[in-house]
């Protein structure tokens, strides 16, 4: 029970660490909030609604995303997309992520060798 609780909490922290990269990676084309969340869930990255939507506004405030209101069919929706800075940040974060996973794989290999 203690282990399960700890794993759940720490997994959440792990996911929180990568959610920004996951979000940026899916905003190459404009999407609205719910559509983005479904996209992430279908891709295997479940994310809480209460976390995603405020995150989008924060990333916009930081200048990484742009947004516009669109009324297509149904009520008006706010569409988010990567801005120029967002693309640069995405490229750099992707490089950092690849580096980190390489390092972590090596560390974990060392751990499994030690038994």
């Amino acid at each position: 029970m203690v282990v399960d609780d700890a794993v759940e909490k720490l997994e959440q922290e792990l996911r929180r660490g990568v959610v920004v990269l996951g979000v940026l990676s899916q905003l190459g084309t404009p999407r609205y909030g719910y559509e983005l969340r479904q996209c992430l869930v279908d891709g295997g990255m479940p994310i809480e609604e209460g976390t995603l939507y405020p995150l989008l506004r924060r990333l916009e405030a930081q200048g990484l995303l742009t947004s516009e209101w669109r009324t297509t069919s149904g009520p008006p929706r706010r569409y988010y997309a990567l801005g120029p800075n967002g693309r640069r940040v995405l490229d750099r974060l992707t490089g950092s992520w690849r580096e980190m996973t390489k390092v972590l794989d090596q560390l974990l290999e060392g751990t499994s060798d030690d038994g």
Binding site: G33, G50, P75, P76, R78
Partner: protein
Amino acid sequence: MTADELIESYVADVVMLLPRKQRRDVALELRALLADEVDGAAGRHENREAACREILNGFGRPTEVAARYGSPVAIIDPVDTRRFIIYAVSGAVILLYGGLLRGLIDPQRGTNLNAAVDRAWPYVFGWLGFLVLALGLVGWLRRRRPAPAWKPRPRLPEGINRAGRAVGIAFFIIGTVVLVNPMWTIRFVSGGRAMQAAQDVFTYDDDFLRLRGPVVLGFLIGSIVIQAIILVSRRYQPWIFWVETGYGLGFLAVLTWAIGAGPVFVTDTTDQSAKGIVALVILLSLLDLAVRARRFDARHAVEAYDRSST
């Protein structure tokens, strides 16, 4: 309530907690997002209202959501929280004790002590308000100016300040002599020229001399003995701290009793003045004990580390 009414109520609760310029925009967006989520989840529930309740529960409490949307600023930085608690509780205890002392030395002895303590509460709230302001200002300055580079503080001396303690003992002895016989001291200082009235002003009350006086004198002498023992000790060991602190607290309790159980001097003016001075000494001593306890605790933790690493 219908699903739409639930969404409206939830959105209203969230945006009320946001800055005015964000409210309309967030309300519009949040309403649309929640409607989409509810429509997406409706198929998994018996009705749209049940789906809505699940979605809203998953979203989180309005206060949590508003915190995520905004950039909440803490009035007191989290790093200062522990300090705030210590200062708040210590200050409150000292102020309330001060209220109790004031009630004890009140010339109208029929005063209800509870009422005397109650009168201290506005000062306690004032103190808490001052702390919030002071620590809020400290946090605000910290956020606006780059923190200066850390500089090591001189480590607290492990040895005993023998010169300071010796001077302290001398003053203690002189003070005890003056208190034991103030009239003799006045005659000595004035060369016998002081008027009788001046000498009568410092005459002790008989009831005080019967019990309270000797007990206070005993504790004064005990304090001098303890300081003398510390003076000749090699280093300030934990047992010295515990003896000094325990004895100090006991002495403060005795002083409280001494000034609260009846007159000390025969003359009212002298009596009130003396009690006021003793009350101030009690409160300052409490503060001093609290500061020394904190320092001892910190030093002890560092020394425990030193001992464990050698």
